[in-house]
């Protein structure tokens, strides 16, 4: 819908109307067709086999034990479409803003778009209000956006994120998981989502301990992804031939930081070396 005013190049009235600090609400009001969950999709064929899927995300806290100093979020690099590998280097872990990160499992196209909108939502709020949203506020916004995607989720195009951030008010790292209906659940210590998550969760339970430092937490995250890739065909292991490593990020009081590939290469090589020679299951004494 273009009004005469818009055609003349002036800002549409909707832009000038005082109202919400939410970009998503503004979009729903002004251009609802741009929202990921609102697009009409033909019914019938379930989307699961037609669109690439992103799989395993792991998250864990480090520091502590009372108040974790930060969080590590990591994702493998494989996207699958049915039985095929659709991508070997897809990214599933993104900075949401300076002090939080989001990892996504599920329908890749919609998830990536949802992350883009979520990043924008947080930045928009920050610019309009001149202050950051609280970490709970950010998690609630994400929850609302997932709920908006429910119609597509019912057709097989579900998005299941894992949200991790540093809570500036409480001075601690926190984790949140979500279900397809937008249900929000705070997780403690560690969590994993996606098809390989059952295996990753087992590894996390065994390897995580209170008071891990950041570097050890990164190693635990990589090892959990390794175990997920070992048993889940949809999760990619570290690709030593192409030198493609998982995307691993830490968030603490310093903000979001992606772990450099060179550092990850060292971690991966150590894990692979530990498991070589009959210890492929990663036996610990």
């Amino acid at each position: 819908m273009t009004t005469a005013a818009e055609a003349a190049g002036r800002l549409p009235d909707a832009f000038l109307r005082p109202g919400s600090s939410s970009f998503v609400e503004f979009l729903a009001d002004h251009a609802p067709d741009l929202l990921p969950g609102r697009r009409p999709t033909p019914g019938g064929a379930p989307g699961a086999d037609l669109a690439p899927h992103a799989t395993t995300i792991v998250a864990l806290t480090f520091g502590g034990p009372g108040a974790p100093r930060g969080v590590v979020l990591a994702g493998d690099r494989r996207a699958t479409m049915g039985h095929l590998i659709a991508s070997r280097e897809i990214e599933k872990v993104f900075p949401a803003d300076e002090f939080s990160a989001v990892g996504i499992a599920g329908s890749a196209g919609i998830a990536v778009e949802m992350v883009r909108l979520f990043q924008l939502e947080l930045e928009h709020y920050e610019k309009i209000e001149g202050s950051l949203l609280s970490l709970d506020g950010k998690a609630n916004r994400l929850s609302t956006m997932i709920r908006g995607n429910l119609p597509l989720a019912m057709q097989g195009l579900a998005v299941v994120p894992l949200f991790a951030g540093y809570d500036l008010d409480r001075g601690t790292g926190r984790l949140f998981s979500f279900d397809v209906t937008g249900g929000r659940y705070e997780e403690h210590d560690h969590h994993s989502v996606g098809s390989g998550s059952v295996f990753a969760r087992g590894a996390l339970k065994k390897l995580w301990r209170p008071g891990l430092d950041a570097a050890d937490a990164v190693a635990v995250a990589v090892e959990a992804l390794y175990d997920a890739a070992d048993d889940d065909s949809a999760t990619g292991g570290p690709d030593t031939v192409r030198r493609i490593w998982p995307v691993v990020a830490t968030v603490d009081v310093e903000g979001y930081q992606r772990v450099a590939d060179d550092d990850l290469a060292v971690v991966v090589e150590r894990i692979v070396a530990d498991r070589r020679g009959g210890d492929a299951g990663g036996v610990r004494a």
């Binding site: 190049g9 002036r10 800002l11 832009f15 979009l27 741009l34 924008l120 928009h124 001149g130």
Partner: protein, 240 residues
């Protein structure tokens, strides 16, 4: 039978312009200055929450003088415009020129069609990869746009202050030097609104200033507020 009285378009526009100009001149000035690493914005504003200078998008900032409710509305509209455009195309497709055009059309339409013009003056600035690629647009209450180079002063006593900045500004000056020039210029307006001669400027403490920069060296979001000790240090003469 009543006669519809006639007012010439010239008179009508002149009255409106006088009205808007008077409103704008009442407010405190904002100084915008290009320097080697970006664009600096400074104004005297003791409030920490009600801003006259703010971020619009990655490389774009906004500064305004006049009526707060009117420019705040335009600022929010600008953020919505930029975010919507960046979301539907790409972040690289959001430009200060596009935003300045949208503002100009909006201000122009309000000026000619509504009963009261907006009592605001705006600057939309975008920092480029080099000083030559910086863009600074100054927009008036009637929708006129000027493409400025180097510096802009808006608000009360703008003409006098512009003359002062012109004397002190030079291409490629550093941030600290540019800010000192800006603060000296702002201090030239005394409490009763008159301009004092050079050398007799008021000292404005860092806490009474609102200062921000678009820093071209920053990776994505170039906008950064300068407050507290960082600002006081720059004004006192420590280079960065």
């Amino acid at each position: 039978m009543s006669m519809p009285f006639y007012v010439s378009p010239e008179q009508l526009m002149k009255d409106r312009a006088d009205f808007a100009r008077k409103g704008i001149a009442r407010g405190r000035s904002v100084v915008v200055l290009a320097h080697d690493d970006g664009i600096a914005f400074a104004t005297e504003n003791p409030s920490r929450a009600l801003h006259k200078i703010s971020e619009i998008y990655d490389r774009i900032a906004f500064a305004a003088v006049g009526k707060y409710n009117e420019f705040e509305n335009l600022r929010v509209a600008g953020v919505r415009y930029a975010d919507l455009r960046g979301y539907s195309y790409d972040r690289a497709d959001v430009t200060a020129r596009g935003l300045a055009n949208a503002y100009a059309q909006t201000l122009g339409t309000v000026f000619t069609t509504e009963s009261k013009p907006l009592e605001v003056e705006l600057v939309v600035a975008e920092v480029g990869a080099s000083p030559a690629e910086d863009q600074v647009y100054r927009l008036s209450y009637d929708g006129s746009v000027a493409d400025e180079h180097g510096f802009v002063v808006m608000g009360g006593q703008a003409e006098h202050l512009t003359a002062r900045v012109r004397d002190g500004w030079s291409e490629g000056m550093g941030l600290a030097e540019a800010l000192r020039l800006a603060v000296r210029t702002l201090g030239a307006v005394s409490a009763d609104g008159t301009v004092v001669p050079a050398g007799e400027e008021r000292d404005i403490p860092a806490a009474g200033l609102e200062v921000a920069v678009l820093d071209r060296r920053r990776p994505r979001r170039a906008f950064r507020r300068l407050q507290g000790e960082a600002l006081a240090g720059l004004l006192a003469g420590d280079e960065n």
